[in-house]
Amino acid sequence: MFKEYDVIIIGGGITGAGTARDCAMRGLKTLLIERHDLTAGATGRNHGLLHSGARYAVTDQESAEECIRENMTLRKIARHCVEETDGLFITLPEDDLKFQDTFIQSCLKAGIRAEAIDPAEAIRLEPSVNKALTGAVRVPDGAVDPFRLTVANVFDAQLHGAEVLTYHEVVSILKEGYRVVGVEVIDNQSKEKKTLRSRLVINAGGIWGHAIAEMAGATVNMFPAKGALLIFGHRVNNMVINRCRKPADADILVPGDTICLIGTTSSRLPYDQIDDMKVTPDEVDLLLREGAKLAPELADTRILRAYAGVRPLVAADNDPSGRSISRGIVCLDHETRDGIPGFITITGGKLMTYRLMAEWATDLACKKLGVDKKCQTAEICLPGSEETKTEKKSSSQHVWLGEKAAQGRHGSRSTNIVVNDENDASLVCECEGVSVAEVNYAIETLGAKNIINLRRRTRLGMGTCQGELCACRASGLLSKANGCAKKSAEDLASFMNERWKGMFPVAWGETLAEAQFTAWIYEGVCGLDAFDKKEEA
């Protein structure tokens, strides 16, 4: 007898993670499947902007209203993933200052606090802003860490009984007649195949959901839109900086943790390239040129890496041309739409509205399964964001950077990071302050199995040097935990290669020097090239 789930959710991005949490909280027997690691797709490749909705206010009131509602919700339920920085929409001499009025009116109409401030005041609030600005509007933008948010959702789903399979890829959708009854997956690491049965399958595969729907026999026309971004070495700005004009390329600069990022470009991409995206020199040049208009300092700031994400643009139903694009959330009941019972697709939307998307999908699932439970994801805090009574250590006691940084990353759950002795307090990643204890916590509690997992759960290797010393240290700890030195060495080689992919598009100046130093250490001193698996390159 196969174990049967109530619902299988495909896709370990934020939508799938949020849906898994919602389903599990409503008592459904839930399984989440992801072919790589959590957040490996578009979720881990965006701005990390906690939109106030202001960006959409003029063009799309509905999205704007959704954004500001979810914005306020996330500040409450995901405190440890959110930075309440506020944002500025600045007008530059080349922009039309008249647009500011329209902008503010639209914001207020959508329920977004928007207040015009004096340029001098804007410079005082955010000293990095382009001093040539002619106007500024302050809005409740912020920053959100998509890795932390996704992991917290998945972790909470697990606490509510959900199961999670990462590195498992759906190879076919099981059907009995027209009804979808489960999935067949392949374990991407052991190459073993498994059949998993459920009463419902929810497709939360983002752009890859296009292919998943096809497996189920449904057509969801999605058009990949590529957006490239650059990560800078430190926080140049402490408030989000946007341009007060119609949305365009490279007009958002977001501070996030220890860095800041500028984005995005926007271009359509052939579907067959979504797994192999390259950031082109032209895109880098454009991002730098436009970025420096928001904060001139960017022109001289070290760039750590470049990356691109792919947004799924969903054609308004049954428009194969893609000319008519739906901007909002798309929740498809394939039973009523295509005559395929047991199959739901949740797509469209954005990082900001993931919880609402999850709520819609779960509402539909509950309806299908005859479960009458209310959504509580907007009220109950995510693990790490719970109110705690534990007070800070007395000020006389010295707190290391690693401990403070971990508090920021894991919120109230950081008390579960166990420091038994001095060795546990030792830093693995010095740029981001990740200790041995935090690495062990990520391995034992957050399911990290390789260095990329660790990076997404702790920020290890995300700092200035992009893993130059910490990757090897972490690899040694993983090798101890998983008992296979060869596998860990190969993992280290592939991690360094993954870091390089983001570095070389911006490898000049310090970034090139760092790359050379890293190569000396890993290839020269260590001989890590012996563990490179060419096919992954």
Binding site: G233, H234, R302, L401, C431
Partner: protein, 412 residues
């Protein structure tokens, strides 16, 4: 760099950890996060949130040996000092005020020198200072002279200076003025012998190094501006401004800009250590030094941290080596542990002595008549810890100089 701009040299950090190899504090005190973590690593977090500032940055000696070692030109020491001034929440203590205001204390003390010296040497006074002010009781306080150098200069030397065609200005600093006027007198003696007249600056305040390290940034800025304005007037007269202390020199040349955010580019090259100025004249063949034949000594040179940072030990050692009777030895360049007022503080005393251990051993083992060094606080530390007398190279040159022959040789 302007007063408000943040120094982003931390971006150049390659995370190679070379700085930590040369940090004297890390080696003795595990509470100190080390230059890389306290400097470039920590700075990224402090930019995110000032709460990431860590009071253990006070353990930094500001020796700048991390900067000297850094292959990537990261201003590690400057980043740490600036962070202390910007984020430090410790209120400076009365003790810090007393230690920092070397010139105020100096003028008070000089007038009452015998009493002060006597009192500072008394055991009960030392224990009161230890208990109340947290100045470690092991410390020997530098003695105060009965007559300031400035007073002496005006009474006994000023008139004569007009007889020279070449002129230099002298920034004597607190130590030469209040504690050890002999050094300043030696300087005047040499300069006059080689045909240079000496002017004092119109106004001179303490260079401010102790104010910076004790957290009195505003006062340091005021004094720095006053000094710069006096220096500018001297430079406008076509005079170089010479000093006899490596730390004052370093502070005015580099810290004024890097830590206090003052633009000194117009006069930076004119602020010189006397040994550099004199050596370059000799090197260029413009002057000749004649030495006494009976001056025979074994002398080793200790490179003060700020001298290492300036990179000028070359000049002082080359001068001392010119003395025919000197058997010269170069000590390994390492911190003596005093770091200005740092080692005076009770909480740092142990570390301070431990840092200097290797140096003291090398000095004691080397059978020396004397140690030469360009820094007054290194002098106190080494004398206290080894019993070997320590002199500024200028005093050594002055003692070894055959003044008559030198004057003659330089008359054209």
């Amino acid at each position: 760099m302007s007063k408000n701009k943040i120094d982003t040299s931390f971006e150049q950090c390659m995370k190679c950890t070379v700085c930590t190899v040369y940090c004297p504090v890390v080696a003795v005190n595990p509470d100190y996060p080390g230059p890389k973590q306290a400097g470039p690593d920590g700075e990224r977090y402090r930019l995110k949130n000032p709460l990431f500032y860590d009071e253990t940055l006070d353990l930094c000696l500001n020796c700048k040996r991390c900067e000297v070692a850094c292959p990537s030109n990261v201003k590690i020491g400057d980043i740490i000092q600036s962070a202390r001034l910007k984020y430090g929440t410790h209120k400076p203590k009365l003790r810090d005020y007393i230690l920092a205001n070397t010139d105020v204390m100096g003028s008070l003390a000089t007038t009452m020198a015998p009493v002060v010296n006597f009192t500072l040497g008394l055991k009960p006074v030392k224990s009161v200072m230890d208990a109340v002010l947290a100045v470690d009781h092991h410390r020997t306080f530098p003695k105060y002279a009965g007559q300031k150098f400035e007073t002496w200069f005006k009474r006994h030397a000023l008139k004569k200076q007009d007889t020279y065609n070449n002129k230099v200005s002298y920034f004597h600093g607190c130590y030469a003025n209040y504690n050890h006027p002999k050094l300043a007198k030696d300087f005047v003696k040499i300069m006059n012998a080689i045909g240079y007249g000496v002017n004092l600056l119109e106004k001179e305040k303490c260079c401010g190094v102790a104010l910076i390290s004790n957290g009195f940034k505003d006062q340091a800025q005021k004094q720095a501006e006053l000094n710069l304005s006096s220096i500018r007037k001297a430079v406008a007269r076509g005079e170089k401004v010479l000093t006899t202390s490596s730390t004052c020199t370093f502070t005015m040349r580099d810290e004024y800009e890097h830590i206090l955010g003052l633009d000194n580019a117009d006069v930076r090259d004119s602020i010189n250590l006397a040994t550099k100025f004199i050596y370059e004249l000799v090197d260029a063949g413009e002057i000749v030094l004649k030495f006494k034949e009976d001056y025979v000594k074994r002398i080793a040179y200790h490179t003060p941290c700020h001298m290492e940072k300036l990179g000028w030990a070359l000049y002082s050692t080359s001068l001392v080596r010119m003395i025919p009777g000197v058997n010269f030895m170069m000590l390994d360049s390492q911190c003596c542990g005093i770091a200005g007022t740092y080692g005076f503080k009770k909480e740092h005393y142990q570390d301070s002595q431990k840092i200097g251990e290797g140096l003291f051993k090398q000095i004691i083992d080397s059978q020396l008549d004397m140690v030469a060094t360009d820094c007054e606080t290194c002098k106190w530390q080494i004398e206290m810890s080894t019993g070997v007398p320590v002199e500024n190279p200028i005093s050594i040159i002055a003692d070894a100089l055959d003044v008559e022959a030198t004057v003659k040789a330089n008359q054209k």
